[in-house]
C-alpha cells in the first residue's frame, strides 16, 4: 500500500516537473520581450554534428553569449547524429532543415549549386561584415559563381607530428624541412619494428604532396588527376612504403588511423591536423611530441579542412539567422574557438591570438597562408574515390607505375 502511494507521488512529481520545465523558458522570454521592445521572439534552429563534448560546449557557450546580446532571438541546437549529409539532405527535401547549419567544404559545391542555400552577400553588405579578415583559402571554399554562401567557423591544417624522443635517439635535431630530409629522417627512424612514418591511403593526406610538387587533382573546374607532377608526388609518397620500406599504412600496423599508430609509438612521424592534440592528450598523455610545418617539395603546401555556417534558403527569419552566423564567425564568437583550442579560428586577427596562446601549435596556423582547401568541385567525392583507389593499388602492388594508376583514375572520373 505504502509503496503504491509512493510511486503515485513520484509520478505526480514528474508530471509537475515536466510541465513546469516546459513552461518556464517561454515565460522568461515573454517577460524579456516586454521590457525590450514589442518584437516577438523568434527561434533560430542551428544544425550541427558533435564530434566531442568539448565541441558541443563551444557552441553552447557561444550561444549563451549571443543571447546576452540578442535577448529576443532564441537559438535551438539540433545535433545530427549519424551520417550528417544523409540526414541533412532529407531534411532539406522535407523542408525541415535548420535555419543555419554546419557545412563541410567537400560537399559544399553540391549544395551551393543546387540552390538550397541563401547567398549571404546582401547581408554581408547590410551588416558591414569584414570578410577580408577571414583566411582567403577558407572563404573561397564557400563561394560559388561569384556569390558567398557560408562564413567559415574554424579550420584545421595538416602538419607533421613527430616523436621528439625518437628523434633524439636517432640523432636528428630538427624536424625535416624538405622532401629529402623527410626521407632521410624516415630512414634513420625506422628500426626495431618502428616505422619512420605512418601514411594513410587518403587523398586528404597525399594531396599535400601533390601540391608541394606543383601538381593538382582539380584545375579550372576539371579533374586533372593524371598530371605528371601528381604522379611524381604519388610515387614519392608511396615509395616510402613500397621502395624504402620506412613507412606503412595504419592498417598494416594493426591500427585504425595515423593517430593510433603515432600514439602507440609504432611510427615516429605522422601527417595529421589539430584534432591530434586532444586525441593524444587522452590516448598517450606522456608522449613527447612536436608539431612542425609539412616539409616542402618544390614549394610549401598543406591541406586545409574547414567548416562554415550556411543559411537555409527557406529560413523564415533570415535577418536573425544572419545575425547568429555573424556572431558565431565574428571576433566575439571566435574567442571561444581560441579558448577551446580544438580547431583554429577562421579570422586572421584571431589566428594571431591563437598563436600567442599556443605557441607550440604555431605550425598549424602558419600553414593556412599556403594551404589548399579540401574541395574539388561537384565531382569531389568521385575524385577522392578514384585517387584513393590509385594509391591503394600502388601500395598493394597491383600497379607499379604511379602515372598509369592515375591515368586509370582520370578515366574513371572522366565518364
Amino acid at each position: 500500500m505504502g509503496k503504491k502511494f509512493l510511486s503515485i507521488l513520484v509520478l505526480i512529481f514528474f508530471v509537475l516537473a515536466t510541465v513546469l520545465a516546459g513552461c518556464s523558458p517561454s515565460k522568461t522570454s515573454e517577460s524579456k520581450t516586454e521590457t525590450q521592445e514589442t518584437v516577438k521572439p523568434v527561434t533560430i534552429k542551428l544544425g550541427m554534428w558533435s564530434s566531442s563534448p568539448a565541441e558541443m560546449k563551444i557552441v553552447e557557450d557561444q550561444i549563451a553569449k549571443f543571447k546576452e546580446k540578442y535577448p529576443n532571438i532564441n537559438v535551438q541546437i539540433e545535433t545530427i547524429v549519424g551520417d550528417y549529409m544523409q540526414q541533412l539532405q532529407t531534411q532539406l527535401a522535407a523542408n525541415t532543415a535548420p535555419d543555419i547549419f554546419y557545412l563541410d567544404s567537400m560537399p559544399a559545391p553540391q549544395l551551393m549549386s543546387s540552390g538550397v542555400l541563401e547567398p549571404l552577400d546582401e547581408y554581408i553588405k547590410k551588416y558591414n561584415v569584414d570578410v577580408n579578415d577571414f583566411e582567403p583559402a577558407l572563404l573561397s571554399a564557400f563561394q560559388w559563381e561569384g556569390k558567398t554562401y557560408g562564413l567559415p567557423k574554424d579550420y584545421n591544417t595538416l602538419a607533421l607530428f613527430y616523436n621528439k624522443d625518437m628523434f633524439k635517439e636517432a640523432g636528428i635535431n630538427e624536424p625535416p624541412k624538405t622532401w629529402e630530409e623527410l626521407k632521410d629522417a624516415a630512414k634513420k627512424l625506422t628500426k626495431d619494428g618502428v616505422k619512420g612514418l605512418v601514411l594513410s591511403i587518403d587523398l586528404a593526406r597525399f594531396n599535400a604532396f601533390i601540391h608541394q610538387n606543383g601538381g593538382s587533382v582539380y584545375k579550372g573546374g576539371k579533374p586533372t588527376l593524371n598530371l605528371p607532377e601528381n604522379a611524381q608526388a604519388l610515387d614519392f609518397y608511396v615509395g616510402f612504403i613500397t621502395k624504402d620500406k620506412v613507412a606503412d599504412t595504419p592498417q598494416n600496423m594493426g591500427e585504425g588511423w595515423n593517430g593510433d599508430a603515432f600514439a602507440a609509438k609504432k611510427a615516429a612521424m605522422a601527417i595529421e591536423g589539430g584534432w591530434m592534440i586532444p586525441f593524444l592528450k587522452e590516448k598517450a598523455p606522456d608522449l613527447n611530441y612536436g608539431i612542425a610545418e609539412l616539409p616542402a617539395g618544390k614549394q610549401k603546401a598543406t591541406m586545409v579542412f574547414t567548416v562554415a555556417y550556411v543559411m537555409n534558403k527557406n529560413s523564415k527569419h533570415k535577418d536573425e539567422a544572419f545575425k547568429l552566423i555573424e556572431f558565431l564567425t565574428g571576433k566575439e564568437g571566435q574567442q571561444f574557438v581560441v579558448e577551446a583550442g580544438l580547431a583554429l579560428p577562421s579570422r586572421k586577427s584571431m589566428g594571431a591570438k591563437f598563436k600567442e596562446k599556443y605557441p607550440e601549435r604555431a605550425a598549424l596556423v602558419d600553414g593556412a597562408s599556403y594551404a589548399v582547401p579540401w574541395q574539388f568541385g561537384l565531382d569531389g567525392p568521385k575524385i577522392v574515390d578514384a585517387a584513393n583507389k590509385a594509391c591503394e593499388a600502388l601500395i598493394m602492388g597491383q600497379i607499379t607505375n604511379a602515372q598509369q594508376a592515375l591515368d586509370n583514375a582520370q578515366k574513371e572520373v572522366g565518364q
Binding site: Q89, Q110, G115, Q251, G254, D385, K389, E412
Partner: protein, 299 residues
C-alpha cells in the same frame, strides 16, 4: 431469397469489419512503404536530387542503361553474388547441423541453443567492430596463426581476404537465426514416423534423408529465400568494415552500399533508385526460380 440477402449482408458486414481491423496496417504500409516505393520507381527514370527536386528532369531509361556500363556497379553485383553464393549454402548447412545437435538429447542443450542464438541478437555494427579487432594485422587471429608459423594477412584490408572475412562474419552472426527456424521445423515432425522407420530397420542416415529432410522441405525453402534476400541486401558489415568506402579497391563494395553512396553522398537519388529496382528484380527472379524448384504444393 430473404436468407440469401441476409447472408450477403452478413458477408459484407464481416468483410467491412475485417478491413476495419486491417486499416491501421494498410494505412501505414501505404504511407510508409507502397507510397515511397512508387515514388522511387518514378524517380528512377529521372535525374533527381533531393537537394533540388524542382530541377529534376525526365531521362527515360538512361539511368538503367548507364547501370550496365558502370564498372563499379558490375563489381558490386559480382561481390554481392559471390557473397551470396558463399554465405547461403554454408550458413544453412551449419544451421541445420546445429539444429540437429540442439534437438538431440545432449546435456545442456538449452545452453547451446542460447549460445548459438546470441550472435543473432547482437547488433551487426558491434559484431563488425569486434571482428575488426580480432582480424587486425596484429590481432588475435594473426597471433594464433603466428603460433603455427603462418604469417596472417591484414584480412579486411587485403583485396583477397576482405570479402571472405565479411562472409565469415555474416555466417557466424546469422546462423543462429536459421537454426531456430530449423529447430521449430524439426520439432514439428511427428515422432511416429521415426518410430515406424526404426521398426522397419532404417538406420540414422536413412531416417535423416527419407524423413527429416523431406519433412523440412518448406522450412528449407523459407530459410533459403530469407537467407538469399538477406545476403543480397548486405550492407552494414561492408559499411563498417570499409568505413563506407567499399574498399580496399572495391573488394567489399556491395550493391546496397553502392546505392547508399550514390544516393546520399553523390546526391544522385535517381540513379540510386534505378539500382535499387534492378536489385529488386534480381531478388524477385531468384525467389521465383527457387519456388519452381521446390514446387508450389509443398510450400
Amino acid at each position: 431469397m430473404g436468407t440469401k440477402m441476409a447472408m450477403r449482408k452478413r458477408y459484407l458486414y464481416e468483410a467491412l469489419t475485417g478491413y476495419a481491423f486491417m486499416l491501421p496496417f494498410i494505412a501505414s504500409i501505404s504511407i510508409f512503404l507502397i507510397g515511397p516505393l512508387i515514388y522511387a520507381f518514378i524517380i528512377s527514370f529521372k535525374e533527381f536530387s533531393f537537394l533540388n527536386p524542382g530541377a529534376s528532369r525526365w531521362i527515360g531509361f538512361e539511368n538503367y542503361i548507364k547501370l550496365f556500363s558502370d564498372p563499379t556497379f558490375k563489381r558490386a553485383l559480382l561481390n554481392t553474388t559471390l557473397y551470396s553464393l558463399g554465405v547461403v549454402p554454408t550458413q544453412l548447412i551449419i544451421a541445420l547441423i546445429l539444429a540437429l545437435i540442439v534437438n538431440s538429447d545432449i546435456k545442456g542443450k538449452t545452453f547451446f541453443r542460447v549460445a548459438y542464438y546470441i550472435p543473432t541478437v547482437t547488433s551487426t555494427v558491434a559484431v563488425s567492430v569486434i571482428f575488426l579487432y580480432l582480424f587486425k594485422a596484429d590481432g588475435l587471429v594473426n597471433a594464433l596463426l603466428a603460433k603455427f608459423g603462418i604469417q596472417g594477412p591484414t584480412w579486411f584490408y587485403d583485396v583477397r581476404f576482405a570479402l571472405p572475412s565479411i562472409m565469415m562474419m555474416a555466417i557466424w552472426s546469422s546462423v543462429g537465426n536459421y537454426m531456430v527456424i530449423f529447430l521449430a521445423g524439426l520439432q514439428d515432425i511427428p515422432s511416429e514416423l521415426y518410430e515406424a522407420a526404426e521398426v522397419d530397420g532404417a538406420n540414422k542416415f536413412q531416417r535423416f534423408f527419407k524423413i527429416t529432410l523431406p519433412m523440412l522441405r518448406p522450412i528449407v525453402f523459407f530459410n533459403l529465400v530469407m537467407s538469399l534476400i538477406g545476403t543480397f541486401q548486405v550492407f552494414d558489415q561492408a559499411y563498417v568494415v570499409s568505413r563506407g568506402t567499399g574498399g580496399p579497391l572495391d573488394a567489399t563494395m556491395t550493391v546496397v552500399l553502392y546505392i547508399y553512396r550514390t544516393g546520399f553522398r553523390d546526391f544522385n537519388m535517381g540513379y540510386a533508385s534505378a539500382m535499387a529496382f534492378v536489385l529488386f528484380v534480381i531478388i524477385l527472379i531468384l525467389t521465383l526460380i527457387q519456388r519452381r524448384l521446390f514446387k508450389e504444393e509443398t510450400y
